[in-house]
Subunit: 634 residues, 2 copies
Amino acid sequence: MWIWYPGDMELFFALKQNFSRVERGVGWPAFWKSEAFRQRIVLRRTYRLAAETSFTVYANADSVGFVLVGEKKYPFGKPIICGPGEVKISIHLGSIPTFPAAFIEGAVIRSDENWMAEDYAGDPVPVGHSPYFVDRCQDPSEWPYEEKMICPAKVEEVNQGLLFTFETELTALPELEYPHGYRACRLYIGETKAEALDTDNCYSFCDPGEDGLCPKNAVHYVFIPSCKKGDVLLRARQQFVDIPVRAEFHCDNEKLNRIWKVAEHTFRLCSGIFFLDGVKRDRWIWGGDAYQSMQVNQYLFGDPEINRRTMRALFGNVPAVTHINTITDYSMLCIIGVREHAEVYGDLDFLKEMYPKMRSLMELCLTQTEENGFFTGGPKDWVYIDWAEFDREGPLCAEQMLLARCCQAMAECCIMLQECDSALPAQGEPTKNLQLRQDLDRYTRKYQVLKEKIDQFYWDEEKGAYIDSFVSGKRNVTRHANIFAIRFDLADEAKKERIVKNVLQNNNVPAITTPYFRFFEQDALCMMGCLDQVLDTILSYWGGMLALGADTFWEEYDPQKPLEQQYEMYGDPFGKSMCHAWSASPIYLIGKYFLGLRISHETEEGYEIRPYHKAFQSVEAVLPAGNITVEIRW
Amino acid sequence: MWIWYPGDMELFFALKQNFSRVERGVGWPAFWKSEAFRQRIVLRRTYRLAAETSFTVYANADSVGFVLVGEKKYPFGKPIICGPGEVKISIHLGSIPTFPAAFIEGAVIRSDENWMAEDYAGDPVPVGHSPYFVDRCQDPSEWPYEEKMICPAKVEEVNQGLLFTFETELTALPELEYPHGYRACRLYIGETKAEALDTDNCYSFCDPGEDGLCPKNAVHYVFIPSCKKGDVLLRARQQFVDIPVRAEFHCDNEKLNRIWKVAEHTFRLCSGIFFLDGVKRDRWIWGGDAYQSMQVNQYLFGDPEINRRTMRALFGNVPAVTHINTITDYSMLCIIGVREHAEVYGDLDFLKEMYPKMRSLMELCLTQTEENGFFTGGPKDWVYIDWAEFDREGPLCAEQMLLARCCQAMAECCIMLQECDSALPAQGEPTKNLQLRQDLDRYTRKYQVLKEKIDQFYWDEEKGAYIDSFVSGKRNVTRHANIFAIRFDLADEAKKERIVKNVLQNNNVPAITTPYFRFFEQDALCMMGCLDQVLDTILSYWGGMLALGADTFWEEYDPQKPLEQQYEMYGDPFGKSMCHAWSASPIYLIGKYFLGLRISHETEEGYEIRPYHKAFQSVEAVLPAGNITVEIRW
């Protein structure tokens, strides 16, 4: 396998991913601190060899460096003989344009996860590696995408041009062929027919040269003006990361089956090397979106690898000096996300790797507080939560809910890591254990204090709900903080019941307008047992998109508007992403609450099933549960 | 001009430089934390336009991004029309393999030093730029070296091969021509004839292909075995940064004239994009070496640009998490170096740019102290000072001398920056001024406390000298701390006199063995008025190398050894660099003490001349003094 400094592979591909957005021919690199991989590393391991042995070290093409065996230097690419006895091997690598990586081939001495990596700044850490890079002939800076050639399902002459329709949306590179020789033409590439045909406003276009190649895009419809049948031929080179779908779902409600299928297709398109928000736009790695994708992943792929890759890309390097995507709440959702991942997949190695980064990001949060200890973020940070009208005077309640849950999550991480460390031989790392104990105390105390203060400052007894701000005196109630209070178990049961009645089922409190926060809302309603209400919402809201012909779910959907008004967003006539990961939440809701699979380490199997039989007459389903799959049917 | 985030250009070329060492065909990237340039930046400026105007933005080839004018996005490379009125322009750039940079062409709107840069982490800062990148057709990731084709001065058949001798040492790319068609041959490239002819031990070799090209090397002698006259033709493409020599020196002592010339040649070869230690080996950017090079530069080129480039490369990014080159004393010499540079060149802009980096590195130093406040470095840091036998039990005295001088230098920087800030309009940056005031107090106090404690713990009244360690009880005296006490004015005059007598002129105290520390020693002796002694040393020590045929000065020289024993170092028969920057110190010593030019802002001209007439019967000299040159003759 190829090995590298942990996180470097992800940071390299994240730069490529976050710089890949193109809007009407103009590149739009993501607007936040973009963290780089390391340029200079050492990979080390000591072997105790019973006999002489031979090995060869291969480095990525951009690397310069050498292999040190004992005191002697060797070049890359040539067999090295050593042993018997104790042999210390160090592989020194320097690489500028791509991350440094090595592949070690040999009968005994070979690359595996037991090598350690150093970067001349921190302590040695276990190397990074990936099941996608196990072949010596690979270039680790080229992702080994799966590819499939797809022909359009329909070609028709429209508006003096050619419209190509693919059976469904793809992430693909359009390829044009000129049977009568090259001719200049522009491809308008749309997620919808309306977009492809609107040559003034179509988001993506491409002017292929003689080779006919276009860059990767969200491809569903392609329109070429001033073109007749036979002038050109088009196919699409679909390029994707093949993450196996481990879940199956079929019930007696066909609409729900279709919702599952479309959510699955949507989610697969948005799951590449990383969890992306959408495939046309932004194609960026966003922390809040990724947090929700991790929940869907749990019930569809059950794939810990994409979680790890995405979280490594988002957290960047220690020390944390800015918030993830510049958004304070995204920083906190990612911290919570890693903690939940560690439990779902029993992934303590990853928790150990990420803990210093989570801790550094927590320090950033905990220093950005006002006099009561409430989190404000820094002057340039984006306190987002949701596209909604909050009373933003003073610290926002929903942010405090997240911070409290983060403190609790960090304390839980300390306990998990302590347990895993105490399983190590006694010579372990006493300083680290001491630090974990101190951290546990500190985060536990912070959590308790914060929880009490939130109730004291934000709970409005008269309204029976949490208010946005205690500073303004306006006592404004929105759904968001109240949803978090339920979802992150920050209110007592009596308060939760009152929230459901006074907020979640109260039409006077402005409705959630984004599928992003609708995810959290439905989740909270499920937790409070309002399953019938949630099932109705799934069937009407997601079913509503189906009724308008959707075969992927959208970034936003207003049931009040006709189809032709659905494409606009951010003031751009085709600005909306019509295939957006955060709209795949029905998979999570069905899996967790209707099929009822919960990961719970209090049970022997590591999971429990509490199905909601009322939801379906009959069901046949398979779900991933960590490393195993479970079948549920009734 | 091309503009970028300040420091990024230097960090990019420093990676290339520090990864360029090759030892017998094996790459050897420098073994310290190698800091990267930023991948994602914004360049911003607001114009108040009297009329409509047009401009075009060009980005470096690897960049993706766009130009934002008001609310509208434009691509690179096409004219943009805007104005009249206030126009906000932002240039968004993302680049992975090389640093992002832009060139803005227009009558009114154009790139210059008044643009600001952001990296989504820190505050906006003035852009970086360089007189070497002012042409739009340049690729800013390719340094525009000067080139000259040089033919060998002599070609002779030796040992069944061909020996090519160039008139002097060069930094050059050897190019082979095959008049009778390609033939495989290996070039042994030596700084000395002995090295080139020793095919088993020669440090550099190259196996050119059909194009005949070899990578850049230190080229003086080239030997090709199994080759006769006419088989191949060789020339060398000399590649260099043409930094004009502003100094001239000629006196009645021919040996001294020759020492100056050879020092000048040595120093020019070692001054490229950055100050390098040597041209064969290491070709790395070392902080301690660079500190001394800055002193020589002051009296030879008087070029502030190479100082800036080198210091940017060495300091890397904020926060400082490791010492420069992993060496504690190199961190401190660089801090002192920037402070001295600021005074010599009146370069407050650069001081302002570097202050946050110096401050961050100081924080690292000031947290690595033991109970008495003495600096120890971290567990993996290299407390170097010099290749010498110190008593290293507990904190080393010479390190405390440097830390004390650093505290004093930082306090002086605060005063300089305060003065320059108070010249700004009143709406300036009150927080920054407050921080500077606090820093000034803190560093001044630290300096005073440290100075007193050094005397209390390290001064040995009986020996009349500073001892290495107060912990071991051995009371070991070496020259180093005592030299620093004089050089950085940390002892009173009575103590200094005693140090000269008891240490510097005491043969029982082990002699300095490296030209590196000999630099500091001669400097201290000059400060104490021992000019005749120093002149003797220059003539005998540097003159000794000349007597052995040197046309560049060496990394190390032991006058006791015959020529054939001079090439070995670090256990490698040709490990010694025969052209080493730190051996160019005679230029500094002659300029500062014998011609007597000191930069002193207490005088109206900014300098004073206190020549030592006894040194020469007659002299004609020109020296740079900041932006002007002065002529000295008698």
